[in-house]
């Protein structure tokens, strides 16, 4: 089962790196959209500082959501999803492997770009380490919950737009606690409670999201 896991992660990473522009496009969307905010709301430092955690999290969420279609869609269209589902390992292992590869090529680059953008938005320095820790706990949950949505819309009309309608309500808890953690740190309070809840959401999503996703994939394949 572990060899299947590593094989699928290896395969997806190779495919993603071969088509290297995907990760770069996600980071580019993140950077460009965050940069739009000073143009939109004015460059006044304390206004930007006030909204920095929220803006960073919302745009990271959107960037993560926009990259979900390459999780299953390409494999579904050329038939390799059906072949991959025939392995003796449970379908959940396949889903976790694909989500891991997705997070490595989407969540990690977003985390790498976040400190630079936090500086651009004049975020208070107390919040940086909490931002990184919160994103470390939050972005895998985003990939896991997003996988449910990506699996549900395989073969649907207008699947890309539909996935956002399905997934954004489920993303809201991660957003609330992610921003809450950074806001607490910036104001000098301990972010421990919010970080623990983010960890709890991740631990709950780890078994349940692959289960729901494999149910969705199974009825997409047949």
């Amino acid at each position: 089962m572990m060899t299947t896991f590593f094989d699928v992660v290896h395969r997806d990473l190779r495919l993603a790196l071969r088509q290297g522009t995907d990760s770069i496009m996600v980071v580019a969307f993140f950077v460009l959209t965050v940069v739009l905010f000073p143009f939109g709301i004015g460059p006044e430092s304390n206004v930007l500082e006030r909204v920095a955690p929220g803006v960073l999290w919302v745009v990271a969420l959107l960037a993560s959501m926009l990259s979900l279609d390459r999780l299953f869609q390409a494999d579904y269209e050329d038939g390799s999803l059906e072949l991959l589902s025939l392995t003796p390992a449970p379908l959940s292992v396949l889903v976790i492997a694909k989500v891991t590869a997705h997070w490595l090529t989407t969540g990690l680059p977003l985390m790498a770009a976040a400190p630079l953008l936090a500086v651009l938005l004049n975020m208070n320095a107390d919040g940086f380490s909490t931002l990184m820790l919160a994103m470390l706990l939050g972005t895998p949950s985003l990939s896991l919950i997003g996988a449910i949505g990506a699996g549900l819309v395989l073969g649907a009309r207008r699947g890309g737009v539909l996935v956002s309608l399905l997934i954004l309500p489920l993303y809201v808890p991660v957003l609330i606690f992610g921003v809450g953690a950074v806001d607490a740190a910036v104001h000098g309070f301990s972010p421990k409670a919010q970080l623990l809840v983010l960890g709890a959401i991740l631990l709950a999503a780890l078994p349940m999201a692959p289960w729901a996703t494999s149910a969705a994939l199974r009825q997409a394949i047949e």
Binding site: I148, V153, A156, R157, L162, L165
Partner: protein
């Protein structure tokens, strides 16, 4: 439960239940509105505008109840492949969305004179808004596929994934410091509300419940008829050996 899986038997039972649920709706809503608008006291602080509560609270209860109905019938459809469960989920979803929408609108209309604001982003209001979006997602997903059974199954999984929101709504006023009033009816220690207001509230809730059953029967009958029409059309197009 599997006795009722036969659509023809369901239709026979529905034909019997329908007039009774229509009568119950008229009776309970009529009595509830009479007590709510005329025969119950105004609030000592809020005066007469407390009467919005008699619509706001039952529709909130129904919004959560309908989502629970959608989630339960989705689970039944996925586990036992009960043929009517998919139709019940599909039929309940728009009704629940409408109740949730009415709850949010009446809440805003009540909040403006009482709190001074149409909307506030506290836990209860935010989680009810998320419930509305979950309903919209459910309805969109059902209709997003050319094959209706595929849409029903995908939506069933989504309904179960979103069910976590319903306990969050119920306990949000206890877990967070919210502007919305904490629980006064369904809580430990019994209702904290006077019987002169509790009775109209429960009458309106019973009326909304009867209305839901009435509309559910009409909608499921329509869905069954729609499935028959689809089958007939497929047979016409592909010849008698198809479908």
């Amino acid at each position: 439960m599997h006795r009722f899986a036969n659509p023809a038997r369901f239709l026979r039972i529905a034909a019997v239940v329908l007039p009774w649920s229509a009568a119950a709706t008229a009776l309970f809503l009529g009595a509830g509105l009479y007590y709510a608008l005329i025969a119950s006291p105004g609030d000592y602080q809020q005066g007469e505008s407390v009467r919005i509560m008699y619509i706001h609270v039952p529709t909130a209860w129904m919004g959560m109840f309908c989502y629970t109905a959608v989630a339960v019938s989705s689970a039944v459809a996925l586990i036992w492949k009960h043929p009517l469960a998919d139709l019940i989920a599909k039929a309940s979803s728009p009704v629940g969305a409408a109740f949730t929408f009415i709850c949010l609108v009446t809440g805003a209309l009540w909040g403006k004179p009482m709190w001074g604001t149409w909307w506030v982003w506290d836990a209860r209001l935010t989680s009810m808004l998320i419930l509305l979006f979950l309903y919209f997602g459910h309805m969109a997903l059902i209709n997003a596929f050319d094959d209706p059974t595929r849409g029903a199954k995908a939506a069933a999984i989504l309904a179960l994934a979103g069910f976590i929101n319903v306990p969050i709504i119920k306990f949000s006023v206890d877990w967070w410091n919210t502007l919305h009033q904490p629980a006064s009816v369904v809580k430990m220690g019994g209702p904290a509300i006077d019987p002169s207001m509790l009775v109209p509230l429960l009458l309106m809730a019973a009326g909304c419940k009867a209305y839901y059953i009435l509309v559910l029967i009409l909608r499921v009958r329509a869905e069954i008829a729609g499935a028959k029409i689809r089958t007939i059309r497929l047979m016409q197009v592909h010849g008698r050996n198809a479908a």
